[in-house]
Symmetry: D2
């Protein structure tokens, strides 16, 4: 492990933690920060990036949650793994941080949607989920990213929850969800066959649990799918 200079441009924008997250991510992806490299201390980053301590902490916490760095108490923070360099070719790095953040409310909302859908879906709603699944599969076979079909699938589940507030809230997240889906699925399209198979299988399980009217199973599979989707973006499981 070796200590490195981290190059930071002072920033003055709303989500400072995102910008900082993005700059560090960029340097990991770009190879300036290699695996095992030690990041500067929180205090140093504060000074150099000209932000307060909580902003630095938030950015580091997210990088750690994404499996990109690891903090060892009393020693420091180290680069842990390097995500696909394709990642930063799809979006500006601050935008990537913002896409990743969308998974938090999605986990909360969509896990609940899946459970309610398993209890309440009408036959017509189930068919709509099934059709979105088939459309996603078709898009993959045609070599497309399938992000519109992906969004349609998740919206159909929200509609099957039998409470119109759920699709409304998902619509509020639409732009950010689509951005993250496009990015994730672009990586998947260029990734292995195995990776596409997994994405489909995760959706299929959600469909089956809703079809089988098992709310606990539907919640589990939705939560698993969203967690894995996020991990596929940050690359924390490798190319899968």
């Amino acid at each position: 492990m070796n200590d490195v200079m981290l190059k930071l441009k002072p920033a003055r924008r709303e989500r400072l933690a995102d910008v900082l997250y993005g700059q560090i991510l960029e340097q990991i992806t770009g190879g300036q920060l290699v695996e095992g490299a030690k990041l500067p201390s929180e205090a140093q980053i504060c000074r150099e990036f000209q932000v307060s301590r909580p902003v630095v902490r938030e950015a580091l916490m997210r990088l750690q949650a994404d499996g990109l760095v690891i903090s060892r108490q009393g020693i420091g923070t180290f680069v842990k793994s390097r995500p696909s360099d394709k990642l930063t070719s799809f979006a500006a790095s601050a935008e990537i941080a913002s896409y990743l953040r969308a998974f938090e409310p999605r986990l909360a909302l969509e896990t609940e949607c899946a459970g309610l859908a398993a209890m309440r879906r009408t036959k017509a709603q189930l068919n709509q989920i099934g059709e979105a699944l088939a459309a996603l599969e078709g898009a993959f076979q045609r070599g497309e990213t399938g992000w519109e079909e992906d969004f349609a699938f998740h919206l159909a589940v929200a509609e099957a929850a039998g409470n119109e507030l759920f699709p409304r809230l998902l619509q509020d997240l639409r732009d950010i969800m689509r951005g993250s889906m496009r990015m994730a699925l672009s990586l998947t399209r260029r990734g292995s066959e195995e990776r596409r198979r997994r994405v489909l299988e995760e959706h299929r399980r959600i469909f089956m649990a809703i079809s089988g009217q098992d709310p606990d199973l539907a919640r589990l599979y939705m939560r698993f799918h969203l967690t894995e989707s996020r991990a596929r973006i940050t690359g924390s499981h490798g190319d899968r």
Copy 2:
């Protein structure tokens, strides 16, 4: 138990299940449907209210979830308890159903907010939650409903979750949340001293769990509070 005539006006609006829910609620509150009375069969309600079976099922399912009716398999559906007649003086009955529905996405979103807030809140954010709590207590002492203070408390928790999408989504629910808070707290204001004490205590626990940085506890207390708030509206626990 005796069979009764249920008077229904055919309706043609978007949320038919809400309108149906509201009409039945009104007759229970108004005393036309007394405890133990048997509702007409699903098929009869379909015909009379001129809606499809899923609409009737949804309305009955919600009435049952709210503890207002009870279904006995193969026998029928019976009126179980009668909510405060003050209830329908605050809002049109279809509106009440819509307020109640807001608790579903709130449970999903706010439970998660409370957990994240316990992990991430800054000292300033914690103070803001504490101030909203004090303001709610003050409002109660002045004999006000305190619904604005209540909303401010929940928004402060969402802000402490460290992800700006949470307060944004809560803002989307603002009107419907405020409606339900105003209704619930109006009932509370006219209710017993004990009831006000409970409302405050539930908020205080959420604050303490976030202050103590215990995410599981914060989730539990938020979930408990929202569940109890809903029950206070439908009156399923009595005047508490």
Copy 3:
């Protein structure tokens, strides 16, 4: 779909529902009950098997939860899928039902263990989990079932939870857990390479989440693993 005669031997033992579950499972596995076949009505099964209605309901509910039959309200219960015929060569069919039942307390206990282990594990405890994982991989490579290594892994997670009551309770379930692990892993050994890969990956994820000190992730991956293990026994996902 065609109606079939279900051959049942009246039974008088403690877990009547298990025995009934086992007899129906046996006839599905053995091919007497083919896909799409309609089971006799609850009332008929009561009479023929000479048990009360709740016993029949419990057995049918479990068969449905295991994806072996499907109930269509007001129409009847139908055979949905046929598990591997290897299944009943490993254990008497009532024993299989008892093994499957062990997953319920395991889901409750071990999900919590995984979460606590992520928060509390010492370095030595983490190493022990890692060694059990390596041992399981080794067993698979040598063509063994690896059920002792599997049990050792789960026990190591329970020990890392920092509360000696968890390993004690797991020891109480030891015999039934080992029976179900032996059965599941025997099916896996004879199954596809893909299936072994999945079993290892599920364990590896649990290890990584505990190593990364992420309690929510550890809970999710443990719950996913146990759910999938159960599904691998009943064959509800096919040979995976």
Copy 4:
């Protein structure tokens, strides 16, 4: 806040963390450690008590989770609140720590039991839960602690879960559960009327959720009850 001498007797027994927890608890209850007092550093406690760092951390973590001390990062650990001095008159302080530990597996197991009971309970099983509830109320009216009735209630819920492994596991925890119930309810008997009312209400809610066949509600109310029971022992909510 003032720095104090903490008197510790070196110990060599299996659950060192419990013994250490108990000694500190005793000094808080006994008044040697007053509110606001600063505990010695982890390193000092290690030396004086002659145990390793993880043992000290575990004891402090539990004291903090129980609301008895609070850690301020980089500053130290301080006494936060003083539980009822009646507490240590009921049991040796290491025993108290062991009773408190029983709540962890109980939360995992009994939350799940309550959910399954809501889905599966027969009418006879529901009656048994109701009778245990009535017996607990009777015991309170006669001025008894009611701990046997309390255990009977929880066992009846486990039996209604429809899986004999749950009551079996609860029986394994019987002695430790009874110890903690006896202690908690002795405190309750000497406590306020309000406190007894709450204990009954918590049980009544669990019963009602199981009766109303609402698994999510049953899980929530069981989790709430167990969390509050634990808090009543450590006194972290005051005399309630």
